[in-house]
């Protein structure tokens, strides 16, 4: 029913916790430090303990979003502001970076160590004992098997008959004088150790991130047409066209966002692709993903009319190209000299007017306007995002600056991901799946037969699914016209 260790054929008998008893008979086993450490990690109880602690520790890491997932570069303030006092305490205790904390990583390392030690500690003796198991088993031992059958008035030839019948059920049969061992599914018996091996490989694949040059992750934000060099991977990316579509007018549900991306080494175009989410470009072992977009649009250009406040007559117009800001603009007969430019304008009492970034999300500028009929330059604000405010500030000045048309765009968010350990992790996953299938969907079955005093004693053993073993042996024996086997069910506590 469950995986059991095969007692009769192992070299060193173990107790149910997998511990080797210290000191057998005359030979006193000296337990030194290494043995203690080894036995600690080989213990099933400790293994379960590590698994449980990892689960509990992981739960802690889900209570509040971790620092790698919050939209703020200042976690110390963010948690207190957004979630309150409990979250602040949680943050101070280090739980906002649970999965990189010393205790969590220690548990993960302990798991890795335990996996290695357990597999050697139990896998190797198991392999040896199964490899060296004898064909001829003592009758006394066979008679205690949970699945036992007996065939009276038996001869040596009956063993051959039995061998033939079992071969039909795909058993591998070994024969000796008066004895027989039929076995199938020995590999599934190692299923658990194959799973462990797979997990160890996965952990190794994750650890390769620590090797310099194996792992790099970076978000690259590109404006329309912009080219940026990414030093760590040795090439530059250029946004040759980004399109963003929403399902709704309110722009809350994105329909698609895609970029025409180009990879340059120096001036040479090396690769290009139309990137979609889920459809990446792989260049030089680096994955280039369409990851996201800047939800805040930036100004590309604005068409501005210069209007006389009193007559409401348009005196001229000009165009501001935010990719190429000029010091001076001409509108009709007037010249506008840019005195101040705030790409992302904020105003408050303490600091006055200032900019929070170098990107034109919310531009504001001051112009000195000169031209016919002006004794001195008219110093005015142009605030395309806040025209009413501009009107208030400009109320004593002769002109109005009206934006008539504008183009905005969103930056594309390109994720660069280089992780040479990924194939290793995938291999580990495949091995884990193989181990799981072997361990849970197949069984290791063995049938011994021994001829003694004209009676053929038949005993069977399986590591799982006794009901199935019983059915199969029953079918084989009754098919030969022999007595059906007796099954002694285990008593459950």
């Amino acid at each position: 029913m469950t995986t059991t260790e095969e007692k009769p054929h192992e070299e060193t008998p173990r107790d149910e916790m997998g511990q080797k008893p210290a000191g057998l008979g005359a030979q006193k086993q000296q337990k030194n430090v290494f043995d203690t450490i080894w036995d600690f990690f080989a213990s099933l109880k400790v293994g379960i303990g590590i698994i449980v602690l990892l689960a509990l520790g992981s739960i802690i890491g889900t209570i509040y979003p971790q620092t790698n997932a919050i939209p703020s570069p200042n976690p110390d303030a963010y948690y207190l502001e957004k979630y309150g006092k409990f979250a602040d305490l949680y943050h101070r205790l280090g739980f906002t970076d649970t999965f990189n904390s010393w205790w969590y990583l220690t548990l993960a390392m302990a798991l890795a160590v335990s996996l290695v030690i357990v597999s050697i500690d139990r896998g190797v003796p198991l392999y040896k004992s199964l490899k060296n198991q004898p064909v001829a088993r003592k009758v006394l031992s066979i008679r205690t098997d949970r699945l036992y059958a007996k065939h009276e008035q038996a001869k040596e030839a009956d063993l051959d008959t039995l061998a033939a019948a079992l071969k039909k059920s795909r058993y591998k049969v070994r024969r000796e004088q008066g004895a027989l061992l039929a076995e199938k599914g020995r590999l599934p018996r190692f299923g658990a150790y194959i799973i462990h091996l797979g997990l160890i490989i996965i952990i190794a694949g994750v650890l390769t991130r620590l090797i310099p040059g194996w792992y790099h992750t970076e978000m690259v934000w590109l404006k329309q047409g912009e080219r940026k060099e990414v030093a760590e991977v040795g090439f530059a990316l250029q946004n040759q066209g980004f399109s963003l579509e929403f399902y709704d007018k309110e722009m809350t549900r994105p329909k698609k966002y895609e970029t025409d991306i180009a990879v340059f080494e120096g001036e040479e175009l090396k690769a290009s692709k139309h990137l979609l989410v889920n459809d990446y470009l792989l260049y030089n072992n680096t994955y280039i993903f369409q990851n996201s977009y800047d939800p805040n649009a930036m100004f590309k250009s604005i068409d501005v009319d210069l209007v006389d406040r009193k007559t409401e007559q348009t005196l001229g117009h000009f165009k501001i190209d935010f990719m190429n800001i000029q010091k001076e603009y001409k509108a009709g007969e007037y010249t506008l000299k840019m005195v101040n430019y705030y790409p992302d304008l904020r105003v408050d009492e303490a600091n006055g007017a200032y900019t929070v970034s170098t990107d034109p999300y919310s531009p504001g500028m001051r112009f000195d306007i000169t031209g016919p009929g002006l004794e001195k330059p008219s110093n005015q604000w142009f605030l395309p995002m806040a025209p009413f405010m501009a009107d208030v500030l400009n109320k004593d000045y002769p002109f109005l600056l009206k934006s008539t048309a504008g183009e905005t765009y969103n930056m594309t968010g390109i994720l660069l991901q280089k992780d040479l350990g990924v194939p290793i992790v995938y291999t580990g996953c495949a091995i884990v799946m193989w181990g799981l299938v072997l361990c849970f969907y197949f069984q290791h079955r063995r049938i011994w037969a021994r001829l003694e005093d004209d009676v053929l004693h038949i005993g069977a053993n399986t590591n799982k699914h006794w009901v199935g073993m019983n059915k199969e042996l029953n079918k084989s024996l009754t098919g030969l016209g022999w007595e059906a086997p007796i099954y002694k069910p285990k008593k459950v506590k």
Binding site: L44, G61, P254, N278, Y280, Y426, V432, F440
Partner: protein
């Protein structure tokens, strides 16, 4: 051909079939056992099985129709996903019963399946077009395999519960009996919630508190108001002015008063439902339910519960972890980001890993693993529902 309408029709047929199957099974384990107490099967449970199969076939048609309509297997929002999970639970039962022949198991699995399907119905049905991150064939592979694994694990929950009902001495008060009674209560709490939510949804109830300033959406009459509201000032229900009390000010999550209100309603409804059932049972409800499994072989149930985990665990690993990691790598550039949903899938996996390792030790068969199988259902529920509704992250599409 209006595939959506067709899908809804088949869905209703499936829902009704599952309810009928549940009734047949419950009759089968109670009244149907009276004439032949030792029989493992009777007319009612046999009929229940047939009706269950009808339901599964109908829901298969519903899923197919919806797939034709939307172009992908319907697992992209809470309604679709929970319906699909109910489907895998019923399919897992139909298949397992075919091989292992445990008809009375149906009396425990069918109500769970119905509850999950009813819970699914509370959510909006409309298939919204997929956001870019979900536009991938991996949606079909990862989510469906994970759902199948979770459905199989529910069988281990039901068999484990049956084992505990057989082996626990329910006539005498004890900690074990109280724990089992609590499990029964939790089920009634789920039923109460679903009944309330569905009733108010069908009647078209929807209420917004503070619509102009900070709207809070209520699907049930607001017994709990947003922090700072004048009591009795929002609205009235059944002649009582609401709210009766307010959410504490430290609750700052999205729609927190609405969610707290739902919890309060669920508690009230569950007390009423449980109280009624307890009166009808003239004592702990578990005493009545234990009679359903009287005479069943406990070793067989223990084995069945274990086998369900043994079969479902690899499927869950493949769907919820391996496929999820591959999709994450393809879509987000990283196979693991410690996103709450990913982490809870890992926690669920670690939980069942611990369960399997417990069983390797000799002497740990029987009661403890049965409790772990029962509690495992709660872990899965948190993974599927709790994370989506309580915690937000990359996975909060639904």
């Amino acid at each position: 051909m209006d595939w959506t309408q067709l899908s809804e029709t088949f869905f209703i047929v499936a829902f009704v079939s599952y309810i009928v199957a549940t009734v047949l099974y419950v009759v089968g384990v109670t009244w149907g056992r009276k004439t032949a107490p030792d029989a493992k099967n009777n007319l009612f449970t046999r009929l229940g099985y047939i009706v269950m199969i009808i339901g599964v076939l109908s829901q298969t048609a519903a899923i197919l129709a919806r797939t034709i309509q939307t172009g992908h297997i319907p697992v992209s929002n809470m309604f679709e996903y929970m319906s699909f999970w109910a489907y895998t639970i019923m399919v897992a039962y139909v298949v397992i019963n075919y091989f292992y022949k445990v008809p009375f198991l149906g009396a425990f699995v069918a109500p769970v399946g119905v509850a999950v399907l009813a819970y699914a119905s509370v959510f909006p049905h409309e298939a919204k077009p997929l956001i870019p991150a979900l536009q991938s064939y991996w949606l079909n592979i990862h989510v469906t395999t994970a759902a199948l694994g979770e459905g199989i694990l529910v069988i281990s929950f039901a068999a484990g519960l049956m084992y505990l009902l057989v082996t626990t001495e329910v006539e005498k008060p004890s900690r074990a009996r109280n724990a089992l009674e609590f499990v029964m209560y939790l089920f009634f709490a789920l039923v109460a919630f679903v009944a309330l939510a569905l009733t108010f949804k069908i009647s078209g109830f929807e209420f917004f508190a503070n619509p102009d300033t900070n709207p809070v959406r209520y699907g049930l009459p607001p017994i709990v108001g947003p922090s700072g509201t004048e009591l009795g000032s929002l609205t009235a229900f059944a002649g009582i002015a609401l709210p009766l009390f307010n959410a504490p000010s430290w609750m700052e999550g999205v729609n927190a008063p609405g969610k707290l209100n739902t919890i309060v309603w669920t508690l009230l409804g569950s007390f009423v439902l449980y109280g009624l059932l307890r009166l009808l049972s003239r004592g702990p409800v578990v005493r009545v339910v234990a009679r359903w499994v009287r005479g069943l072989d406990e070793e067989m149930l223990d084995e069945l519960s274990y086998r369900a985990v043994a079969i479902g665990y690899p499927v869950f690993t493949l769907g919820a972890l391996v496929f999820a990691m591959i999709w994450a790598q393809e879509a987000w550039g990283s196979y693991w980001s410690w996103d709450p949903k990913e982490t809870w899938a890992l926690i669920t996996w670690l939980y069942y890993t611990a369960y399997l390792h417990f069983r390797v030790q000799r002497g740990w068969e029987g009661t403890l693993p049965a409790w772990m199988a029962v509690a495992g259902f709660v872990v899965i529920l948190f993974l599927l529902v709790g994370v989506n509704l309580v915690i937000s992250g990359l996975h909060s599409y639904a």
